[in-house]
Amino acid sequence: MQKQVLSVTAVLLMSLMTFCFPAISLAQEIDILIKEGHVIDAKNKIDAVMDVAIANGKILRVAPGIPVNNAKKVIQADGLYVTPGLIDLHTHVFVGSNPGFADGFSSVSPDDITFKAGITTVVDAGTSGWKNFPVFKSQVIERSQTRILAFLNIAGSGMTGFPSEEDLNDMDARMTSLVIQQYPEIIVGVKIGHYRGDEWTPFDRALEAGRKAGVPLLVECHLPGLPLEEILKKLRPGDIHTHSFCVASDRTCLLDDDGRVRPYVLEARDKGVRFDVGHGGGMFHFSVAVPALKQGLLPNSFGSDLHRFSMNSGMKNMLDIMSKYLNMGMSIEDIVFRATWNSALSIKREDLGQLSEGAVADLAVLRVNKGNFGFIDAGGNRLKGDRRIDAELTIRAGRIVWDQNGISAPDWNTK
C-alpha cells in the first residue's frame, strides 16, 4: 500500500514537472527512434531517408542523423518506408451480435485487420445512424485500439438492411446534424448508402444534414433510382463518392460503354468531388480501375469497405488495394500520399495523416517486397504484379501495436 502511495506521488510529481518544464522534457529522452527509413510525409513534403523520433506518444522530430544516445529504443529501418499511419476511409466496424451490419456480425472489429496492414485510423462508413451511434461508441469505438472515426448514416438506425433502411421517417436531417455536432471528435461526415426509391428526399436530407453540421457527404451509391449525373451535380466540393471503380447492377459505371470516363464525372472531379475506392467484396474491377487510372481519374483515398464478406476476398486489407495501384503504375510516394494526408483532407482531419512535430505518433513502417504476385478484383480476376506492400511495424500513439519480424525487439537470449 505504502509503495502504491509512493508511486502515485512520483507519477504526479513527474507529470507536474513535465507540465511545468517542457524544455526539460524536450532535452529528455526519445521513447522510440526509427533510424534511416525512407520517410514519406506528403504534408511536410518529405520524401527522403530520415530519422523519426517519438516521445510521449507524439512525433518529436523528423530529421537526418538524430543521435541514438537519447533514445530508449532504436529501430533500424533502412530499406523500409516510414509513413504516417494509414487511414482507411471506408470500413464497417460496428460489430455486434445481431445479424447484418449495424451492431451486427457482418461488421468487423477493426483491430483484427488494421495494425497488420499499417492502418491506425479507420472511418466507419455509416454503419450507425444518430439513434445507435452511442451504442457504437461504447461498444466498439471506446474499446478499440484503432482510432475509429465515423460517417453518420442519414438513416437513423444505420445499416439495418432492407427494407428498414427505406424508411423516410427515419431520415432526420436535424437529428443527424445535432448528433454530428455532439461528437465532433469522432463523426466526420454524413453518409447515404442504400435507398431503392426514385425520389430525392433521402439524398437531399443527407445533404442538408451535412450542410447544417458543416461536414462532407459520403455517397455509397446503392441508389438505383437516382441518376449518377444528377448525384454528382448535387454534390458539393469536398463531398465524397465511393465504390468508384466498379461494375455493379444497381448503379451507373463511371466509364461509358467505350471505356471512357464519362465527362460529367471529370467535371465533378474538377469541381472538387473526391473519389474513394471502397473496394469491398464486389466494388472494384480492374476493367474500370485500369482505364480510369490511364485517363487520369485517380482515387483520393483507398477505402477498403472492410466487412465480414470482403475481408477474405479480392480485398484483403487496404495495403492490398495500395499494392494493386502500385502494380497498376502509381508511384509509392503518390500511393502513400493518398492513403495518409489526402485521406485526412477528405475527412477534414488535418491533425492526422502526417508526421509534423507534435502530431500524434501514428506511423507505419512498410516494406515493398519484390517477386511474382497476383491481385484479385471483385470479379475474381487477377492482375499480375511484381511488388507487394507489407507492414513491418505499426505504431499507434507512440505504442508499437504490430511488429511482423520483431525489428523492435531484442534477441531472446541476450535480454
Binding site: 451480435s97 456480425f105 495494425f115 477474405n312 520483431g406 525487439a409 531472446w412 535480454k415
Partner: protein, 428 residues
C-alpha cells in the same frame, strides 16, 4: 497412399511399370467419368495420416476429396490450379481459440469483447477448423452456437467449460457450485456431439476440485479434458496433475508459458526439462502450445525442443490479447517451430492429424478420399525473419510459411495471389 502400399507389396510379383499403368488407368477412368471441380496440380502433398509426402495432384468434387494421386488428367477438371513449388496439406486445425465474440457488458471471453469471430484469422493462415477452448459452458453454449458457430465459414468445434457460465470472468469462474459434470456431459453426448469435443478446466484459484470435476464429466461423456492450469498461489505440482488427476489423452495447454510464480513450468531454472514431463508425455498426456498473449516464452520453448520435449499440438489461443502480438496466426506459429528445427512434415502433423486424433475426429485433418475438402496450400519462403514471444523477445529465423490458398468444403475461401483466378484482361 493405398496405391503406394500395394505397389510396394506387389512389386515382387508384377513389373512395377505395368502395375502403375493399371492403377493409373483405373484412377483416370474414375476421374474422367466424374468431373472434378478443382484440381490442385503438381504440389508437394503432406498428409501425415495417409503417410504421403510427395508431389501429387489433389482432386476435389462436390466439396469432398475425390482423389490424391500422381498425374490426374487436367481434362477432367473444371478448374485447374497450378501449385508447383507449393505445399498442399490438410486444412489446419487450431485446437485452442476463443471465438465466443459478443457484446455482453462486463463479460470477458464468454459472449465478450476479448473473443474473436474466427474467419478473420483462419483462412488467411491456412486454418479451416478451430476448436474453441471452453469460452462457453453448458448454460451459454446455445448462444455461442447461434451467434458465432452457425454464422462462421470456419468449422468451429468446442471444448465445453466445466463452469456452466463459461469464461464470463475470473470471478465467476471460481464458483464450484456452477461446475456440474452431469449437465456438462449431457450437453455433449445428448445435444451437440458433433460440435462438442471435450471439456475445459481453466483459471481456477483453488485446489484440484475443478480439474477433478472436469475429468468426471470427461469420463461421463468419453471426451478429453483440456486444462489451463495456473493461477494457484503457490503453484500446485503439475507432476501430481499429470500422474494422478488427468487421464491419458487429456490435454495440458500453455505448454511453454513461463510464469513460475503462477504455474509450475516444464523447464527448470537450469534450463533442463524436468524428467517427469517426459514420463507424462509417455503416459499419454497431450501437450498443447496455446500460445496466446502470455503463454509462449522462448526460454521454455527453445530448451524444450532441443531436449526433445515437443508439444503434441501447435495451437494459437487466439483472442484479442494475442492476435497482434507474438502469436499473430497459425502460419506464424508453425514457422516458429520450423525455425526451432522441426521438419515441415512434423509441424504439419502437429496442426492437422494430431489434433484431429486428440479431439477424436478422425474425419478431419487428412486428405483421405471422401473426406471434406478442407485444404491449405502454403509457400515456404526463405529470407531473414524474426519471431516474437509474449515477452517481446525475438528468435531469428530463415523460413516462413505463408498461406497461398485455402479451401473449405471445396470452396476457395482465401487466394493470396490469385493462383485460382484468370487474368483480368484475358476475360471477355
Amino acid at each position: 497412399m493405398f496405391l503406394l502400399k500395394k505397389f510396394n507389396f506387389l512389386t515382387g510379383y508384377v513389373p512395377a511399370s505395368i502395375l502403375f499403368l493399371f492403377y493409373f488407368l483405373i484412377i483416370s477412368v474414375t476421374l474422367q467419368s466424374q468431373t472434378v471441380d478443382i484440381l490442385l496440380k503438381g504440389g508437394h502433398v503432406i498428409d501425415p495420416k495417409n503417410k504421403i509426402d510427395a508431389q501429387m495432384d489433389v482432386a476435389i468434387k462436390d466439396g469432398k476429396i475425390s482423389g490424391v494421386a500422381l498425374a490426374i488428367p487436367e481434362t477432367s477438371a473444371r478448374k485447374v490450379i497450378d501449385v508447383h513449388g507449393l505445399y498442399v496439406t490438410p486444412g489446419l486445425i487450431d485446437m485452442h481459440v476463443h471465438a465466443f465474440h459478443g457484446t455482453d457488458p462486463g463479460a470477458y471471453i464468454a459472449n465478450g469483447w476479448d473473443a474473436l469471430p474466427p474467419d478473420g484469422f483462419t483462412f488467411r493462415a491456412g486454418v479451416t477448423t478451430v476448436v474453441d477452448a471452453g469460452s462457453a459452458g453448458w448454460r451459454n453454449f446455445r448462444t455461442f452456437k447461434s451467434q458465432t458457430i452457425d454464422r462462421s465459414q470456419t468449422r468451429i468445434l468446442a471444448f465445453l467449460n466445466i463452469v456452466g457460465e463459461g469464461m464470463t470472468g475470473r470471478f465467476e469462474e471460481q464458483d464450484v457450485t456452477d461446475m456440474n459434470p452431469v449437465m456438462t456431459a449431457n450437453m455433449i453426448t445428448r445435444l451437440y456431439p458433433g460440435i462438442l469435443v471435450g471439456i475445459k478446466s481453466a483459471h481456477y484459484w483453488g485446489d484440484f476440485t475443478q480439474v477433478d470435476r472436469a475429468v468426471e464429466a470427461g469420463r461421463l461423456a468419453d471426451v478429453p479434458v483440456m486444462v489451463d492450469f495456473g493461477e494457484h498461489n503457490p503453484p500446485l505440482p503439475i507432476e501430481e496433475l499429470f500422474m494422478k488427476h488427468l487421464r491419458p489423452g487429456d490435454i495440458w495447454t500453455h505448454t511453454y508459458a513461463n510464469a513460475p510464480g503462477d504455474r509450475e513450468v516444464p523447464v527448470d531454472e537450469n534450463g533442463k526439462v524436468k524428467p517427469f514431463i517426459f514420463e507424462a508425455q509417455k503416459r499419454g498426456i497431450i501437450f498443447d502450445v496455446g500460445h496466446g498473449g502470455g503463454a509462449f516464452h522462448w526460454k521454455q520453448a527453445i530448451p524444450s525442443v532441443k531436449q526433445g520435449f515437443i508439444a503434441d499440438v501447435i495451437s494459437s489461443d487466439l483472442h484479442i490479447g494475442s492476435m497482434n502480438g507474438g502469436m499473430k496466426d497459425m502460419s506464424n506459429l508453425l514457422s516458429k517451430f520450423l525455425n526451432m528445427g522441426l521438419s515441415l512434415q512434423d509441424v504439419i502433423l502437429r496442426a492437422t492429424w494430431k489434433p484431429a486424433t486428440v479431439i477424436k475426429r478422425p474425419d478431419l485433418g487428412s486428405l483421405g478420399v471422401g473426406s471434406d475438402a478442407d485444404i491449405a496450400v502454403f509457400s515456404l519462403h526463405t529470407g531473414n525473419y524474426g519471431f516474437l514471444d509474449v515477452r517481446g523477445t525475438k528468435m531469428k529465423g530463415t523460413q516462413k510459411l505463408e498461406a497461398e490458398l485455402t479451401i473449405r468444403a471445396g470452396k476457395i475461401v482465401w487466394d493470396l495471389n490469385g493462383i485460382g483466378a484468370p487474368d483480368w484482361n484475358a476475360v471477355p
